[in-house]
Amino acid sequence: MTSGPLLTALLVGGIAAITSGIIGVFSVVRSQSFAGHSLADIATTGGAAAFLIGVSQFWGFLVMGIAASATMEVIGVQRRRGRDVATGVVLGGALGFAALFLYLGTLQTSTTGASFSILFGSIFVVSPDTVPGIVTAGVVTLIAVALLGRRLLLTSISPDLARARGVNVRLTGVFFLMALAITVSLSAVAIGAVLSTALLVGPAATALRVTRSPLRAVAVSAAIGLATTWLGVWLAYESYYWPPYGHGWPVSFFIVALVLAGYLLSYARRPRRALPPRSPHEGVECSPA
């Protein structure tokens, strides 16, 4: 248990899990899982662009993530359905650019696996260079959430009440999307878009089913994220000794399976009233999970 890649994987995965777990609670309460997933996908477009013009990937996904989140906010109506469509339009446009950048990238370097590693990533091939970026993203997100936590929660649960108290709902939304973009894009580049979405949504949704207190939900979510990630990394490390021999099972499979198992377990733990499927009345989406 002392090999370099394993320790890096545990470190990077742990930081990504904790920050995703914390910000995930807000994105689940705000019904912005789609935005979180899209920003992870979009960040990879930025990474491809940075690769093309020869600057550090870090700037690529930072710039792209922030630009995308601002665009979503500008063209997105404040209602949830409008927001999903705005997210979809931005994602569609960004995927177009991803296709172009990957195509131009393959002209330059003739690597075919690019699109693939972007989607699935691998926590075991994280280069130690990305560790500072991940740490920075984690710290920035945590500071932002600590500063804006109350305001964020209020605008998420009751925009009208927040407005009445003089909170700028729209600005808070932009700040949140940008924090989301930074977190998700860094973890997407480090551990792949699949895992980044799984860690953003799964632990947070589970935590919100277990407890209703926001603070406790944040703590539970981060703990679940950390536990599933470390357990997943360890299982993947062990799986080198499982059939088919010589191939490890992918980390993303284990972590996704564990996250999902946790979510389904939360159903067994305490039966709760089923929420109405989708209400046409916006603004009543306050009850968590």
């Binding site: 997933h37 999903d84 339009v89 446009g93 195509y103 989607l119 979405t197 949704a205 993303s252």
Partner: protein, 274 residues
């Protein structure tokens, strides 16, 4: 390189296949946007893409992997969607499918090269015997939407009224998701998972931003999807850049044009009223 006749044949297949895909995308996308299911529209083709890895592993036709994963995903989203937040369930279903896909990929060796074309499409490689299944599934999807048109409209616009009239909102939703899954499993090998998503959301969102009348919006959505597809094929052919690029930014551009048109129309109406 190509003899000109063979080239015309290939291009004709491309045009026919892509046009059918555009019509399917325009129609299913209209309802996806209307019902606020953009995330499901993204998750189903993307999850299906992971199913293709399973098909490669077992050595069966890719279509089976795509169809099984797409329909399983649609049923998963539909079944769990009523119990919890819709977007959470969609996200978890998507990552589960992709996680299982990652497992398949790690076991197979030849899939990675196919991944790019399944994500971004291989529209220039369409042969004439591939056109027929696409046309067939296209007709099935359109017929399925046409049969349930009133029900789909009612449950999207007024779920309470629909329930009161004895129309099952959940049943209709699962039905729609399965139709979308069927469409995705046929279109993904041709245009790719990402492009299918762009074609579904961009035109429909643009159409909805221009008009509120459902029939007109539906027709407009199909028309915009066709225009984007034809322009993209032409531009992609001229520049040699990937088709997905033109379709992706085409959808976003039409949406922005639609928004601008509505803003302009809105101010004109307001000045007229004043």
């Amino acid at each position: 390189m190509f003899s000109s006749l063979m080239f015309i044949g290939l291009m004709a297949n491309t045009w026919i296949a892509a046009s059918i895909v555009a019509v399917i995308a325009g129609i299913t996308g209209f309802f996806a946007v209307l019902r606020g299911e953009a995330f499901a529209a993204h998750a189903i083709p993307n999850g299906a893409f992971a199913g293709a890895a399973g098909a490669f592993l077992l050595g069966v036709n890719v279509i089976w992997g795509l169809a099984i994963f797409a329909i399983a995903g649609a049923l998963g989203i539909g079944a769990l969607g009523s119990k919890a937040r819709h977007d959470v369930v969609t996200a978890l279903t998507l990552v589960l499918m992709l996680g299982v896909g990652a497992l398949f990929v790690s076991w197979s060796t030849e899939y990675a090269e196919q991944a790019y074309s399944l994500l971004f499409g291989e529209v220039y490689g369409v042969s004439s015997n591939e056109v027929w299944p696409i046309a067939g599934i296209g007709l099935v999807a359109i017929a399925a939407v046409g049969l349930a048109f009133r029900r789909l409209m009612l449950t999207s616009a007024m779920p309470e009224v629909a329930e009161a009239r004895g129309v099952s909102v959940r049943g209709t939703e699962v039905y729609f998701l399965v139709v979308m899954a069927l469409a995705a499993s046929m279109t993904v090998p041709v245009v790719g998972a990402l492009l299918m998503f762009s074609l579904m959301i961009g035109p429909a969102a643009a159409a909805r931003s221009v008009t509120a009348r459902p029939g007109l919006a539906l027709a407009l959505s199909v028309a915009i999807a066709l225009v984007i597809t034809w322009l993209s094929i032409a531009l992609s052919y001229r520049t040699n850049w990937p088709l997905g690029f033109f379709v992706g930014i085409g959808g976003a551009a039409f949406y922005l044009i639609g928004l601008a048109a509505r803003e302009l129309g809105g101010t004109r109406a307001r000045t007229r009223a004043a």
